[in-house]
């Protein structure tokens, strides 16, 4: 009889579907034409057949409205796949950096109802067992061309559009939106591209044609600061890893520069084929989100 009780627990656990699954969640940035809430629609990124991490899901917020009024899409997806016994790897692009940062900083300690990882057409999942947990189960976060620190293109109205999101992307607003250091001890691996030339007169230091290194490198403090590759002698270096940058500026806590585009080869845009600096994040997710 000593064997019976633990054995019963094992069998009930298996029969009851209590198994752990890892997922890879992709959080898009600005201008998304995919269907919001459809986690199978990878239109924003590229061919859905491309390897991009275990059990990949496309979170699909609209990329148009404010971070705050679209953040429920991110929280819904996190609830779906990153609660109970399930764990998530996160990949974010551009304004998706603001979305996951906002969710973790402001809602990362809230009670989350455990979900069954089976979404409806709105991207919301059913309850697992009615119980809750504190926060989500997240292993780490990869960020391509992160706009967590905003973009000077939004400051000066270079994007000739009136989408509400552009207001959130102003450097002062993006940096005041939440405490970027509060990731609840989850690592943000920052991937920064530097092939930009088109807006080099507006974006300070090195950029990928949409965001400058101060944002894509997770640099703390005000926007507008210039950071470059080591080959540029007239501009402070964005350092790899967590170390302070040349000149002494710090990175946000739990942010580490995993890729700096010393070859100035990668721009901001996916081009519908996992392109630009997203290619580096995709490769990391395919290799390590397992």
């Amino acid at each position: 009889m000593r064997l019976a009780k633990p054995l019963l627990v094992v069998l009930l656990g298996i029969a009851g579907g209590v198994y752990a699954t890892n997922y890879s969640l992709w959080i898009n940035g600005r201008s998304n034409t995919a269907q919001p809430g459809n986690h199978a629609d990878f239109t924003y990124w590229g061919p859905a057949s491309t390897a991009a991490g275990v059990n990949k899901k496309s979170v699909n917020w609209d990329g148009f409205n404010r971070v705050s009024d679209q953040n429920y899409r991110i929280r819904d997806a996190l609830d779906c796949y990153c609660t109970g016994n399930n764990w998530c790897y996160i990949a974010a692009h551009s304004a998706g950096n603001l979305q996951i940062g906002y969710a973790l900083s402001l809602y990362g300690g809230s009670a989350r109802t455990k979900k069954n990882a089976t979404p409806n057409s709105a991207g919301q999942c059913g309850n697992l067992d009615g119980t809750t947990q504190t926060g989500w189960n997240i292993k780490w976060v990869d960020v391509a061309a992160g706009a967590g620190g905003g973009s000077e293109l939004a400051n000066v109205g270079s994007w000739a559009v009136s989408d509400p999101l552009t207001s959130d992307l102003k450097t002062a607003t993006a940096r005041a939106l939440y405490d970027h250091n509060q990731t609840r001890a989850k690592w943000f691996y920052m991937y920064a591209g530097a092939s930009g030339t088109l807006y080099s007169a507006v974006l300070p230091g090195q950029d990928d044609e949409a965001v400058a290194y101060h944002s894509s490198g997770g640099v703390s403090g005000s926007g507008g600061a210039s950071f470059c590759n080591p080959s540029d002698w007239f501009c402070n270096d964005l350092t790899l890893g967590t170390a302070a940058n040349e000149g002494g500026s710090a990175k946000w806590n739990y942010h580490t520069v995993a890729f700096r585009d010393d070859a100035e080869a990668l721009n901001h845009y996916t081009n519908g084929n996992w392109g630009g600096v997203v290619s580096k994040v995709r490769a990391d997710m395919a290799a390590n989100a397992n």
Partner: protein, 409 residues
């Protein structure tokens, strides 16, 4: 879940149950007691799922090469390199999480939050001036500050503008015109609110020093036509310098409602930690986010304390904790000084997403003096921390075993 999937799940569960039974009966005498395993050192489990992850494919098999072929050896080396990378990352993730969560998330060394040390310092930025054609004007930059981004009720916000050359030397500046305007997010037509704004460099009003080339203005939305408006207010200042013209642009986010008002502070030493209780009269129930800084007796910034939880309406207290182990590790000089407190009601799924409480600038409260013996050295424990350490530890152990299997050390 469709029937086909249910059938497969059911069949899978049965097979797994049989396998588990066999494993259990075979291994029950030698299996370690999982309850005695420390956090993060639980037995490994393969959590890999489907998803076309080529790096997870079997090693050395397939038609291209057996275990001893050149292709097989190369594949094995690639797998070893991959798993070494995963192992290094998993070990780092585990160790840094374990160390960071020695204190709770809401009671942190302030060094971890470098941009939160002086939260009320003006936001300073510098941009190239752009001319009428939209192109940047060479050698002419605008240096701007704004006091804050979010404000509520009767609060005001100050802005400054100055012109400098590429070396940072001041240039003459003229503010031709400035106005603040509501920026509706909705596509539904609504009445636009507009108010003129006066910048000056005469040492009066918002301006600190006459004739220093820094022009200042202050807007108070509640008294300038925005009292019934909630959303973005954009200030546009038309500027001219050195015969070049351009625009300085600022955004603030305003809500007329003040959700709660402060009503004092008390302290209590409880369970080996020092708790500051910030009293408030809460008008609007909901999730409140409150932050405060703690300096030691010498004015050295020491800790960032945060509160983030649901609060009911009425007379309430926000608990901000100075965690015992944090005190023992950092050894601040007492009494501690609580300063620069800010808070807001977080409104889910809306814009604006917050209604701010009045800022409490400067030293708000000074603690009593305590000695080290009164604080607990125990590290933080919680279900969340245990859950994370278990999972991160499992990942590290899985990767370590895989590296061993592949012939690495």
């Amino acid at each position: 879940m469709n029937r086909r999937r249910s059938w497969w799940l059911g069949a899978g569960a049965t097979v797994l149950a049989v396998v588990a039974l066999g494993w259990y009966l075979w291994d029950r005498d030698t299996a370690p007691d999982s309850a005695s395993a420390g956090p993060g050192r639980t037995p490994a489990a393969n959590a890999s799922g489907a998803g076309g992850n080529d790096p997870n494919s079997p090693v050395g098999g397939g038609s291209n090469g057996g275990p001893y072929s050149a292709a097989g050896l190369q594949s094995r080396q690639e797998q070893l390199a991959l798993w070494r990378g995963r192992h290094e990352r998993a070990e780092q993730t585990y160790a840094t999480y374990r160390d960071a969560t020695r204190y709770p998330y809401d009671s942190r060394p302030i060094a971890e939050h470098p941009d939160q040390v002086r939260p009320f310092a003006p936001i300073a930025e510098e941009l190239k001036l752009r001319g009428a054609n939209g192109e940047p004007v060479k050698g002419l930059r605008l240096r701007t500050t704004q006091e804050r981004v979010f404000l509520s009720g009767a609060e005001s916000v100050k802005f400054t503008v100055a012109a400098v050359d590429d070396s940072g030397n001041g240039l003459p500046l003229i503010i031709r015109n400035a106005s603040a305007q509501s920026i509706p997010d909705s596509r539904t037509p609504i009445k636009v609110v507009q108010a003129s704004v006066a910048f000056s460099d005469d040492g009066t009003g918002a301006d600190d020093q006459a004739g220093d080339g820094v022009y200042s203005a202050r807007i108070t939305p509640a008294t300038q036509g925005f009292a019934a408006y909630s959303g973005t207010i954009r200030l546009l200042a038309e500027v001219a310098s050195d015969a070049q013209q351009g625009v300085a642009q600022f955004d603030v986010v305003y809500t007329p409602d003040v959700p709660a008002t402060w009503a004092g502070v008390r302290e209590a030493l409880e369970a080996g930690s020092l708790n500051f209780y910030l009293k408030a009269n809460v008008r609007m129930a909901g999730r409140y986010v409150v932050s405060a800084r703690v300096d030691d007796a010498n004015g050295v910034p020491f800790a960032l304390l945060q509160f983030n939880d649901e609060v009911a309406a009425g007379s309430r207290e926000f608990r901000l904790q100075v965690f015992g182990a944090l005190v023992l590790d950092k050894n601040p000089a007492f009494p501690l000084r609580l300063r620069d407190v800010d808070g807001f009601l977080l409104i889910p799924d809306k814009f604006p997403d917050r209604a701010t409480m009045a800022r409490q600038s400067g030293i708000v409260y000074t603690s009593a003096r305590y000695v080290r013996d009164q604080f607990s050295s125990a590290e933080w424990t919680s279900e969340e921390r245990t859950r994370y350490l278990t999972e991160y530890g499992k990942d590290a152990e899985t990767a370590r075993r895989k590296v061993e299997e592949l012939g690495g050390k």
